[in-house]
Symmetry: C2
Subunit: 309 residues, 2 copies
């Protein structure tokens, strides 16, 4: 499903569990990644929903190395490696490329607001030149609701022209379908991923390659089913069902909601924890979430068995 | 002027020069810090105007150590040490405290938007407890136009109550005088710094302790003169003159404008460079800036002599 030259399909923005002392819980994290692989999902570790920016760069590299050492295929991994600084983005990216990851998901530098496309172009250029590895495949991470620093079509055009074999795709988390549509039209053959599964079918119909989804942490199989059957007669019905579930989740803060759902389905309350500045659910939020899950007879097939390994 | 128990006065958000390969230019940086000390300014290195978040954490620690080794007094330093993650903020803060810095200027974690005061309180608490050093003095860095993550009065109240000997002040870069005024009224005795010199006089009259200014990189002496003479008859006139200059600078992107001014006054074009995503001035911007400086007969006294060291 995941191929270094042409990444397609469903990737999960893998959530990161923490121990009581807030250290990353490597064991639970690797188990969760294994489960996601059984659901045919690629591993977009260290995205926004992974609390990546709440981790140190060393913590991220240690985790990624451990994941590869645990036997998971780097060809299925697209770690987030963008940061505010050229040296740190370079360090994370070089490490990921060295491990053989299929690609990296790269945020723009997100501290300064209102920066020019010229400045962003130079930032990405510096990182690409410093990594200096022909194996590098960059998927731009357009997430203006969080970063407040957009990756414009004009910037994409420059990057694609300058680095056609390196800058090969984008995750569009703008939440604005007209933007995804414009990307699909402007750059045929470019690897456009929907930012979540609610636009998966439209993205595939427009020539895109899949989606990179937070909800796939818990609803992986159903999302992958739509990807695998997007040309089937019941595709629109499948999309509607995915949307219903996504909208139910969006009633809650997404990251703790995902963790709480895993905690519930795995019978493992350790999963509930977040690292500040994010916080775990209140008892009331948990009650509301469980009601939504129960209403839909929701489960995470195979998770409980895997959790016992 | 700067005292570990009670930091007061004018601190400069020191700009960071870069070499052609974009490495921090340690020599020029230390010379500039020396000049600022001759102008009675404290050194708020690694603030927003220092391009701090475009530096790696190692670059920041290397620079700070070099500054102390070069003989500048850590008692005059308030490095920025806030980051998106608890471990990195802890690492930078411990390093600064270990060097004997007067205080640290601490951004909130700024990746996630819309986070709760509870989450921010936990973030700051974790850093304080992990640093675990009675010498630590934190100045909160409230800069919502850039971070988009405000430090509310309610959060300040909680932090002050929990860590009264550690959380001792704030830089208010909100650009909203009513917010500075509210802080001054709510927390008498707390070290409130104006976010720039345009509200220096009002801040001092309201019981605040000074300002932490970007423009002080170039206009240090005049800003310090107002601080030293704020109760003099001509204080309002001095404030007006400072405002006129600040407003002239604000016609341009601030960071490259400061660097371009230093380049001009020191006769040293190396200073013009910024690190992406920021960019240096165009020829037209430079022309416009120099016209503003010339109109005011602007100079940076003693800089040229020091630049020859």
């Amino acid at each position: 499903m995941i191929d270094t030259k042409d990444v397609r399909g469903i990737l999960t923005l893998v959530v990161t569990p923490f121990k009581k002392d807030l250290a990353p819980d490597q064991g639970r994290w690797i188990r969760h990644c294994r489960w996601l692989r059984t659901q045919n999902c690629g591993l977009a570790v260290f995205g926004t929903n992974s609390e990546a920016n709440s981790l140190s760069f060393d913590e991220r590299m240690t985790l990624l190395s451990a994941l590869v050492e645990a036997g998971l295929e780097p060809e299925a991994m697209m770690p987030g490696t963008g940061s505010c600084s050229i040296p740190e983005s370079t360090r994370l990216t070089s490490h990921a490329v060295g491990l053989g990851c299929a690609g990296v998901l790269m945020l723009p530098p997100f501290y300064y607001k209102g920066v020019s496309d010229e400045g962003l172009f130079r930032h990405f250029s510096e990182v690409i030149l410093r990594v200096g590895d022909a194996r590098l495949r960059i998927y731009l991470y357009h997430n203006p609701p969080v970063t407040q620093v957009p990756i414009t079509l004009a910037l994409m055009e420059r990057l694609l022209k300058a680095y056609p074999r390196t800058v090969v795709g984008i995750k569009d988390s703008s939440g604005d379908w007209s933007n995804t549509e414009a990307m699909l039209k402007a750059f045929p053959g470019f690897g456009v991923f929907a930012g979540n599964e609610t636009t998966l079918l439209a993205t595939l119909r427009g020539g895109g390659v899949g989606c990179i989804s937070a909800t796939a942490n818990i609803n992986a199989a159903a999302i992958h089913d739509l990807y695998a059957n997007w040309q089937a007669a019941d595709a629109d019905g499948r999309q509607e069902k995915l949307n219903d579930f996504r909208l139910a989740m969006q009633k809650f803060p997404m990251i703790p909601a995902l963790k709480e759902t895993i905690a519930h389905c795995a019978g493992d309350p350790e999963w509930s924890r977040a690292r500040a500045p994010l916080i775990e659910f209140t008892a009331e939020e948990r009650k509301g979430l469980l009601a939504e899950l129960e209403k839909r007879g929701f489960e995470m097939p195979g998770l409980a068995a895997l959790a016992e390994i």
